[in-house]
Symmetry: C2
């Protein structure tokens, strides 16, 4: 086999880049002229892309369409909104281009992140860390009694993929009712499944609504005023999917009216969320800045995940996390 | 059987008190002249105590010693420092007084609380909620990479009772190494056990040190400068046991030097912790005001837990959560 060229615009740490270069040798890593800002940022057009066989990162779409030798690209993210159009899908299919993502890298930290938010809500951590009231103060009694345990509560998870599946395993010891939204139930989910037609019934039982929806034509503003109204009063809403799947005005209304107890968001629309955006000041709205997938040595995990697929690619075996 | 008198100074909600009265009928609940400040507060001397058969709450010790008919007392807390002296133990034993606590009421919320703190540390929630840096900012990269997953990490739990046992079950899906300190291993703990003599080896492996020790003569200042130095640099320390089990000066030093990554405390010494106490301002020290046991309808759970033991008491069966 001739030497393959792998364009990598994922901004890996030096040690992860070394791992990648050694792992693909004797095949060759081609770096962009301008380094990418982050593992999520869209890359600029790069002339060196024209002659590569494989791409790893967030390839520029104009580059991809012109790269005649390109056979496989692996995204350095789990989300792939910028590639998820009917046009690109059909073009990639016609062209025989394989597209994979890095969801295996992010599903565990994402599941742990949203779980940490559920626990923080349950134990009222943001209030508790600020409190100076101890035993005997009325405010202490209120805080203590506002705490809850997950046992017996109901969580509705929107989107059943690898994150939801891992989250369900983490929630298992707590004896909760877990319902996941899936358009086409397969029967092997291990949790109760609800289809969109019956979502209102699930929402009426929900103490926690966990949104993991990706962004696409069907999901934009899926969480709108009508559906929020279905949710049991006093429930908490979480979003680690994409900000655009939520009508943020409707979410603000539900927080201001008290219909929702709280919102816990790792994503928003737009990102960065402007400093004067009303979500920052909304009651009981807690925002983390799109870090759910982050973890120590993320670069190393990304490189190892790519190398596993590279090994499969060379062997002609099916790739993991294939999306197109 | 003649009607039993049950002194109850636990400050229950009206609905829990109703449940209690109906549950013990035709036996009689005797209330204190002065209501207790909280389920943890020491009660004042009350003349009505002299004629009761059973006490439920935080009975005043002078009352207890003078109550000739008293056969059983159930504490409304899990902790029982004020009763846990050799003198009281031998007096109660000689007198045939049964003492139970409410640990079954608090073990699950306490385990969930400390678990929520472990998750908050893992996902850097206090920093993340304050952050305004998004993708591309160097501070965002640092925060994202400072996040971790529990998988593969090691937790050392000090004190193996019902809270530790529940916590271990909650941690099971995360693939952690879990080591618990126990003076006399029984072999049925389901986790790795370390005795005090070999604690230094366990601490050297610890990413999380979870202190659930009760306060007694052996445990006061158990976490001192020497033992803190054994802990792996960068680990997090949690305390939901009792504040007096920690040398807080040594803890402050370890936070200031950066030897410990962070401290997450639900208890302190004294409580309330004075507003000018240096722990409030110590780096990465996160304090919740003794709310670990709190949960919705705590009063109801306390009443039901007492009634379960009352049923056993009447039947002559062994009581649950017996401590003396």
């Amino acid at each position: 086999m001739s030497t393959l060229k792998i364009f990598c615009d994922a901004p890996l740490t030096p040690s992860a880049m070394q791992l990648l270069c050694e792992g693909v040798a004797p095949h060759e890593i081609v770096l962009p002229q301008k380094p990418a800002a982050s593992v999520l940022a869209k890359s600029e057009f790069d002339p060196a892309f024209a002659s590569v066989d494989i791409a790893f990162g967030q390839p520029n779409l104009a580059n991809v369409r012109q790269a005649e030798k390109l056979r496989w690209m692996q995204l350095s993210s789990a989300g792939y909104t910028r590639y998820d159009t009917p046009e690109f899908r059909s073009w990639a299919a016609a062209r025989g281009l394989i597209v994979t993502n890095s969801s295996g890298v992010y599903s565990e930290p994402c599941a742990e992140h949203v779980f940490s938010l559920m626990m923080a809500r349950s134990r009222r951590l943001p209030e508790a860390f600020k409190s100076r009231d101890w035993s005997g103060e009325p405010a202490w009694e209120r805080l203590r009694n506002a705490c809850s345990t997950l046992r017996g509560q109901c969580a509705v998870i929107l989107g059943f993929g690898s994150i939801a599946s891992q989250l369900a395993k983490m929630l298992a010891p707590f004896g909760m009712r877990i319902i996941a939204l899936r358009r086409k139930p397969r029967g092997d989910e291990g949790v109760e499944i609800v289809t969109p037609e019956r979502l209102s019934e699930a929402f009426a039982a929900a103490d926690h609504v966990v949104n993991i929806l990706p962004e696409n034509a069907d999901s934009v503003r899926f969480i709108n005023a009508e559906r929020i109204a279905w949710i049991k009063p006093g429930a908490a809403f979480y979003n680690i999917g994409r900000g655009a799947t939520v009508d943020q005005e409707a979410l603000l209304d539900a927080l201001r009216s008290g219909h929702l107890d709280s919102a816990w968001l790792d994503v928003a629309s737009p990102e960065p969320l402007p400093e004067d955006h009303p979500l920052w000041a909304a009651p009981n709205c807690h925002i983390t800045p799109h870090i759910a997938g982050g973890h120590h040595d993320e670069s190393g995990t990304l490189a190892r995940h790519f190398l596993e697929n590279f090994r499969r690619f060379l062997a002609g075996a099916p790739l993991v996390d294939r999306i197109m």
